[in-house]
Symmetry: C2
Subunit: 600 residues, 2 copies
């Protein structure tokens, strides 16, 4: 019934596709080697499977509750959080200088995935803390870092990100919250923030709110927004907790999913304002936020992989158990387990292929970040940073859009039972629906991919990846494929098609982006999907080559990987050309803008 | 905020694509003309918009409740049901001989659509009554008909379909409920039925359960199942209600959606069995059920169109109101309504195109049924019946799979607000998820399409439709497209591609179906989707031609239709080739069956 972290597949990706050997040679990452990864993933798997996952359904049935400004987490969550913090999991990839373990993002990524697969609502709390830590690391003064980071990294306090206001969601230029500078260099923060994940709760001693607000003399728009730390309880100089700050949780939302995760409306500034501390410089808040957001968006991409895997595991288990219907080929007169029906196989194969492809792409992106953060050579760092940044909106956008489809297939595999809440498949479907919305909708990812990640560098990052795909395509042709020849052929044909589709779209974006921006941005989400499909498919092609070479060592595991790559080629990569057509044919944008708004 | 039945578009389809002039010339259908349709749709729209739709959110918040065997419907539902019944809506297409209005299915279809768009949970009750009426009409004795049909048709009593048992869902050969014949020719029914929609409630005086069960000496499997009427209250000879029958509602389900619609577990046969009456002959129950099911499946297809339209209307309204973000083309410095953002346009255009295409296909299928049921000429009847029956699994499968995507886009257009239950977009998303499961999952539709509807007639029905598409393609080339030339070109290119893809798949199914059934059935769901896309796209092409010719009469409406056809061509029909590839490449089925079940 419950979730088993796929440690074997995670290790396969870490070793063979994301090249942990290379990562562990980076300065400062010697401990981030294959053995460490194996030990950590085994420990993380225990916590996720035995402590966190069993609370997932309960959190859905008994969400966090609000009373008079206080929020109570689902029973059991507090204890589980304590175990999470005590295990040192919050600090896994954060600097040792502030108490973290300083391990590679490549090792942190599977840990984050399994925590989210076990219980998305729970995992959001540490994920938001990671965001707050990241923001302070990027721009906090030494004093702020010293005061807050150790507590956040040890998990004693948690963090939140306060961006959204009723009138300012995707468009943060509309933020109205105010910050008035005081003589003591603190600020008084006032305003209303909404959609604040884990914005109030009883699992930790204190909560650090990272808040976007405007100073009175700030310029209008995005260049007049500053970032502040606003603690729920003020922190005394000796580190002990002081007075309650003027930030109140006035309500929490009633949501489609992630019900255990309280989504707070926070009111700042009764009594003249909440006391806040500037992070970095005034008016540069959005800039810091964007650096931090790369990490957060990548984390949400991992959530998509996580929910997809959890949904897949549940569906596969049900399909093995449920007996219904005779074989379509007439090979038996008795009903068989539905896993023997071709369409159930197709659904499970598609779910698994999309999940494994997206996982591989995410971990590979993590390894690029590690190199970008740690390599000795500046040019190498820059090259890997560009690729990582190109991949972030794709990992976020594609993995989350995919998760909606995969969790929907998970419901479908269960038939009527999938619609019954007690089965649990529906929870994944509901939970997944937020992923393509928060931390920037898929359209926001698409704007990033089109504008900042493709047009700005003239397609250089995309071209670097296309060149790598060409190398993989060549390998698919030159390697002796033996009894996997059909799979190699199919993968070569579909990946080559996908590669051309992606290349054509990149060319189109570069050529038409300035001249015809509405048409190009109108196809942006489809570009995210196309890139997600082709780049995940490329990882599956690489996985196929490795699995084929090692097949004799573990025929079950590697055979399944080969079959999964085949499913990816035939069921997922086949969508690439259609996406290309839809994107490129938007040229002139008359399909979408021909109608007057009032006729829509 | 609330739902407005799209009467204008419905009438456009009825008049121009489904050819009501032809239908109204059929024997017995003289009243089913354009004027009558207009009057009835206007009346139906009032009921749906003013009485039924306002209860939809309430039904979600305060579902039906069970207590001690009794089920209370959501407050207000009983009164709304009374108005529905008193308006004569239950009988709209049923025979005048039993009190119905005897109108064409083509006129009943939009009425069913708008009722379901207003409130899917509510509309399920009449839909199931339709199923019971249909079953009695197909096979009931004159006595059964006389006793039950008038009450069902006037809506005083409601009906249910009792097929599923815990071990028998998609596979009805596994039904175990028992029926023992008594000396008085009644039967005693015992067993447990699950997933019985509106299986118990307080909106009507009596409930007629249509129940599948086996007699003691019945052959095993599908050929040993009989159909019975089991009334909740026995009916005296004078038509008055007698004793309570031995059928009890032991619980109702806790579901992802359609929460106001009670999904009952019914226990038959305490005290020696519930009294039931045989419908037709023993052991032919499944045969009757399959005839009836065509109507029910078609109705569920309409539900898919209905929810898609409701979701579209809500999303479009929100997009017009919500101000967020500056224009991507730099044409303004202020935030604009999100409907002016290209990706929101793409989403709305895709939602609308899929909805209108599926509506047109469903109504066209309804007109085929009218001809099949009423034409004087047997050969004409047979020809149209074959096409109608080919279309039923497509209307059911495609409209419902599409509804999942469209309602998901509806959530996405709302951004973060879409995830908040009070917004209402999430309810459509949850409600829609049952549609591809009940009345036969999409895989069951696919088995029907592949086996009974394609292989059995050697592809004749499919070929007839392909030939009609060719005629439309020719028209797209010969008509003077004027200022719609780009749209005509795009539609011709995409529809021609789709037509070829569908033709290739039909050829493949015929060629490989016997030799390689697992591979062919493994692609069945994709064949349903491909056929849905191509045949809906064909309707949009026909709509384009009409709209272009009439554009000057109503530039807003016809201009929007032309733009919607363009969206269909570019965003939906472009998927056809990828589906073809995925289906045909399953050849040999090694992608899906290469893995051992235990490795999945």
């Amino acid at each position: 019934m419950s979730y088993t972290p796929p440690v074997k597949d995670m290790m396969f990706v870490i070793e063979n596709l994301a090249d942990i050997a290379r990562v562990s040679q980076l300065p400062g990452l010697a401990d981030s080697n294959l053995d460490t990864a194996g030990a950590i993933l085994d420990e993380g798997a225990k916590l996720a499977a035995e402590v966190i996952a069993p609370l997932n359904a309960l959190g859905d049935q008994r969400p966090s509750t609000w009373h008079d400004g206080h929020v109570k987490a689902t029973p059991g969550f507090g204890d589980a959080y304590r175990q999470y913090a005590e295990g040192g999991w919050q600090g896994i990839s954060h600097p040792t200088e502030f108490g973290g373990q300083g391990l590679a993002k490549l090792i942190a990524s599977p840990c984050i995935e399994m925590l989210n697969a076990a219980n998305l609502s729970f995992a959001l709390c540490p994920l938001l803390t990671d965001g707050a830590i990241e923001a302070l690391l990027i721009a906090g003064s030494d004093e702020l870092k010293a005061r807050y980071l150790p507590k956040l990294i040890e998990g004693t306090w948690t963090g939140t990100m306060n961006l959204t206001e009723p009138q300012a969601g995707s468009d943060l230029s509309l933020v109205r919250s105010r910050a008035e500078r005081q003589d003591d260099e603190t600020y008084r923060i006032s305003g209303t923030k909404i959609f604040i994940t884990w914005g109030e709760h009883d699992m930790a001693e204190n909560i650090m709110h990272l808040v976007l607000a405007r100073t009175p003399d700030a310029p209008e728009g995005v260049k007049g927004i500053s970032l502040f730390v606003v603690p729920k309880f003020l922190v005394n100089d000796d580190g002990s907790l002081g007075a309650r700050n003027a930030v109140q949780c006035v309500s929490i939302e009633h949501k489609l999913g992630i019900k255990a995760s309280p989504t707070a409306v926070l009111q700042y500034g009764d009594n003249g304002g909440a006391i806040g501390y500037l992070v970095g410089e005034e008016n540069r808040g959005l800039e810091y936020m964007f650096i931090m957001m790369n990490a957060a968006r990548f984390g949400v991409g991992l959530q998509g992989v996580a929910l997809s895997d959890a949904a897949y595991q549940k569906a596969a288990a049900y399909a093995r158990e449920r007996v219904q219907g005779r074989p379509v080929d007439g090979s038996g007169a008795r009903a068989v387990a539905i896993i023997d029906h071709p369409d159930v196989r197709r659904m499970l194969g598609t779910m698994r292929a999309m999940t494994e492809g997206a996982r591989a792409l995410a971990y590979v992106a993590a390894a690029h970040a590690d190199i970008a953060n740690h390599d000795d050579d500046a040019a190498t760092r820059a090259r890997h940073l560009a690729i990582h940044e190109y991949l972030v909106p794709i990992v976020k956008g594609w993995s989350t859009e995919m998760a909606i489809d995969v969790t929907s297939l998970g419901v479908q595999v269960h038939g009527g039972m999938g619609f019954i809440e007690e089965t649990g498949a529906a929870q994944f479907y509901r939970d997944a629906r937020i992923l393509s919305i928060y931390e920037g909708t898929t359209a926001i990812q698409a704007n990033d991919l089109v504008g900042r990640k493709t047009m700005r560098d003239g397609g250089a990052a995309a071209q670097a990846l296309l060149t790598e795909i060409d190398a993989t395509l060549a390998s698919l042709r030159t390697i002796d494929a033996g009894n996997a020849a059909r799979v190699f052929d199919a993968m070569h044909r579909r990946l080559a098609d996908g590669r051309d589709a992606l290349a054509n779209v990149v060319t189109y974006v570069l050529e038409a982006g300035k001249r015809d921006p509405r048409a190009v941005f109108g196809g942006g989400v489809l570009y995210v999907k196309l890139a997600g499909i082709v780049l995940s498919g490329w990882q599956m092609a690489r996985a196929l080559i490795v699995a084929h070479s090692k097949r004799a060592d573990d025929p079950g595991f590697y055979g399944a990987k080969i079959a999964t790559a085949h499913c990816f080629a035939e069921y997922v990569l086949t969508q690439a050309r259609g996406l290309e057509s839809a994107i490129v044919s938007a040229r002139g944008d008359d399909a979408v803008f021909a109608m007057a708004a009032e006729d829509i």
